[in-house]
Amino acid sequence: MEWVNAIVQGVLIGGLYALFAAGLSLIFGVMRLVNIAHGDMVVAAAYLALVIVQMTGLHPLASVLLVVPLMAVLGYFMQRFLLNPTIGKDFLSPLLVTFGISIILQNGLLVLFTADSRRLAAGSIETASIQLVSGLSLGVLPLLMFMASVLIIFGMELVFFRTRLGRAFRATSDDPEMAQLMNLDRNDVFGMAMALSAAVVAIAGIFLAIRANFDPASGPARLIFGFEAVIIGGLGNLWGTLAGGVVLGIAQAIGAQISPGWQILAGHLVFFLVLGLKPRGLFPRMD
């Protein structure tokens, strides 16, 4: 039962990893940009939620209402003013800019909040649980977060495949030059993609802040988990990304069950295994 429990917890944390990964996957899909600052954006969103909760007294989960639009707007302007001017010539320049943003975010957060690790207390819901059978219970909060992650990924799929904005995303991804001839303002399409990515990042940041301790240097590890989930799941497939997150979560949980020191390593090993056996991921959609 201990092992079943570990796997169930792994599945639930996998939802969070999928959230880290979904925004990353969107940005890569639409503009072929690897956003090195993605993990730091998650952590910045966590701090933003912390400040908002402290200032307004809102419940951490309710802070979504403020953090999501704020992050989306910040993401849009970050894309328009920092990244768009470098996009299109070669792939290295925008990559370096995101690397710079990553460093600035980490050090900015350090100045503002010190290196102390923080946590967002969500009250009694944190300890609530549902007993499935004796010896196996599910935390209400992790379960809610997992369901929210599935819903968000479902929502992103809808946006991508059923809306005008999603059509513009896919067209730009297929052939950026032709997309411009379709009267699409590339700068705006990219801005909207980053805004959507940042909105998902905001939710991921709040969930991270409630589930775990975080500090200004927590970003890069979230970026790695996000990357691994994207690659395991296969590029261009958000449901695959969810599966990738779950695989990573289970691997880490099983690793932790063997020995606490194996938790992170087991995740990386499974990632390498998938990369070695199926380099295009488990459910690839994009070439």
Partner: protein, 236 residues
């Protein structure tokens, strides 16, 4: 003489150090079809790319409706009413046939071309509208590319090698649609390898050679020998 819809004045353009166009002058009247002919590497595609903003040039070198547009952003030029059917079709492969058409109508000008009109022009596309665009045959894909350009209700449409790589019977089907397109009042530049086909539908032609205009006029003005000479550069 009506005001030309497109006017190129001393157009020079190229890619990096490579110059492809050396001072092109030409006008397209509203509603007119101009055939642009010339051998491979004559600069026809570069000319179209300069008109659509995909290749930079000085503002006054390209005037659309009397307004300098050279070097403007491609999406802004598209918004003025310039649409292109590119060489090789370049359909969006993750979009269905219908989505390809709809995205052509993104922020479109008002006009007669609607999804229904495109389906009337190319009935096969109605049947295949849910298919991925790239699952269609070459000729059907070309129909989608033409429909996608028409959806913008453009004032000027640029056809780049629409018969390239297609079977003769398919080319005939595609060209059967051209009169309906021209009748809608849109001006067109038709870049075509098949010279007699191009001269058959155009009111005027311009022949290019090594980035310069080598001959221009009405199809009846010059005999085949003169056109061939201008095409291959044997006149000098």
């Amino acid at each position: 003489m009506p005001e030309p819809i497109l006017s190129l004045t001393g157009l020079r353009a190229g890619y990096g150090d490579f110059q492809a166009l050396f001072g092109i002058d030409l006008d397209v009247e509203p509603g007119e079809t101009l055939a642009l002919i010339g051998a491979n590497g004559a600069g026809k595609t570069t000319l179209l790319r300069a008109v659509t903003g995909l290749v930079g040039c000085a503002p006054e070198m390209v005037a659309f409706d009397g307004r300098p547009i050279g070097g403007m952003r491609p999406d802004r030029i598209a918004a003025l009413g310039v649409a292109m059917v590119p060489e090789g079709r370049r359909l969006f492969r993750s979009l269905s046939v219908e989505e390809n058409l709809l995205i052509g109508g993104e922020r479109a000008r008002k006009g007669e071309w609607t999804l229904e009109r495109i389906y009337d022009l190319f009935p096969i596309l109605r049947e295949k509208r849910r298919n991925p665009a790239t699952a269609l045959s070459g000729g059907q894909q070309q129909m989608v590319a033409i429909g996608r350009a028409l959806m913008a209700n453009p004032r000027l449409i640029l056809f780049d090698e629409i018969s390239l790589g297609l079977a003769p019977v398919v080319i005939r089907d595609i060209y059967a649609a051209v009169p309906a397109i021209i009748a809608s009042g849109v001006a067109a530049i038709l870049v075509e390898q098949d010279v007699s086909r191009a001269l058959g539908v155009a009111q005027r032609f311009v022949c290019m050679q090594e980035g310069r205009v080598s001959l221009a006029g009405r199809p009846g003005d010059h005999d085949r020998a003169a056109i061939t000479a201008a095409y291959f550069g044997m006149a000098r």
